[in-house]
């Protein structure tokens, strides 16, 4: 049967088919290489853009913006507070030096005035008076009657 089967002759390739096919294959291979190198360049550029974008986004993210700023503390001068013994049982304290002005990284506990000591247990009241420019000798403790007066509001004019 083999000879019968071979009677069905197939189409023969053209003489230059192999040369044309090889040329097409080499052309395609060269184009693929060029496309591959272009693709690497594009991918490198995209990666660089991505890294740069990520770095920029990280540096300007809201989380970082809302974070506390670095320790640039502006020291607020706090006037020292003296305890005044209303009953006059104690000597007025010596004036203290004003708080230094300037940047400092002192903790809030340092800025706070020291707790006044109780000289006499059961003393009536202690009024915290901020230090003023006047001399410490000029400070006189108020009389007990003054303490019970209703304080007049500031900036009220007298009626004519």
């Amino acid at each position: 049967m083999t000879h019968r089967r071979d009677a069905w002759e197939p189409q023969e390739p053209a003489l230059d088919f192999a040369d044309r096919t090889v040329a097409a294959a080499l052309r395609e291979r060269g184009a693929r290489r060029r496309a591959s190198s272009r693709r690497w360049i594009v991918m490198g550029a995209m990666a660089a853009t991505l890294v740069a974008g990520a770095a920029w986004g990280f540096s300007s993210s809201p989380a970082r913006r809302s974070a506390p700023p670095p320790s640039v503390d502006v020291a607020v001068p706090v006037a020292p507070v003296h305890s005044v013994d209303l009953l006059g049982t104690r000597e007025p304290p010596a004036p203290t030096a004003p708080a230094p002005v300037g940047p400092s990284s002192a903790t809030p506990s340092h800025r706070r005035a020291p707790e006044p000591e109780r000289s006499v247990p059961g003393a009536a009241r202690k009024v915290m008076v901020p230090q003023c420019e006047c001399a410490p000798e000029a400070i006189s403790p108020p009389s007990p009657s003054e303490l019970h007066e209703t304080p007049t509001p500031p900036f009220t004019r007298e009626q004519p």
């Binding site: 069905w8 053209a14 088919f17 040369d19």
Partner: protein, 191 residues
């Protein structure tokens, strides 16, 4: 239609395949020259003769050379079987694209030469008859028949090439032979 004859010529060796992978033009040409007749035969017998066969054959080789770096020369598949697998997939997609046969299978089957003796005339007639009969087969049966009878593939290889189970390939080949036996009964008796 008994046992199929395996192609006599041997496959390309691993060194030649390696040279093709490296892009050596001489090796590429040897590769194409070695397998071009097989690819043309398969395409023209399944789709019919015509200029489309050359286009498809070139596409088969371009795909093969593109995929050659991934071909395992130590594997079970032969290069010819691998090429026929690529060609089969192209044929299937071509049929889906065109829906109808490109040309009658027996068209342009003028193989005779002037002064042909009687035996050659009978041979040409037989070729026409087989081609016509094969054209009567369904595409599935014709593919199996061509691969088995003209390219010497066994049932396992046919199943691999066509992506069908071996049993299906066996059934299709049996039915194709039966159908051709009926169609060619008169022709066999004459020859």
């Amino acid at each position: 239609m008994g046992t199929a004859a395996r192609p006599a010529s041997s496959e390309l060796d691993a060194a030649a395949i390696e040279a093709c992978r490296a892009g050596d033009p001489a090796a590429l040409r040897a590769f194409v020259v070695r397998y071009q007749r097989m690819v043309f035969a398969y395409l023209s017998r399944t789709l019919g003769r015509g200029p489309h066969v050359e286009d498809l054959a070139q596409e088969v080789f371009l795909r093969a050379l593109r995929a050659l770096p991934r071909f395992d020369t130590r594997g079970a598949a032969r290069v010819s079987t691998w090429l026929l697998t690529i060609a089969t997939r192209l044929v299937i997609s071509e049929r889906r694209r065109r829906r109808v046969p490109v040309q009658p299978l027996d068209a342009d089957l003028a193989v005779g030469t002037p002064g042909t003796p009687e035996t050659e005339r009978r041979r040409v007639e037989l070729g026409h008859a087989i081609s016509r009969a094969a054209g009567e087969l369904s595409d599935d049966h014709r593919d199996v028949f061509v691969l088995a009878e003209f390219h010497g593939l066994d049932l396992k290889e046919i199943g691999h090439v066509l992506s069908i189970p071996e049993a299906t390939a066996k059934t299709r080949l049996f039915r194709a032979r039966e159908r051709l036996r009926v169609l060619l009964r008169d022709t066999w008796e004459d020859t």
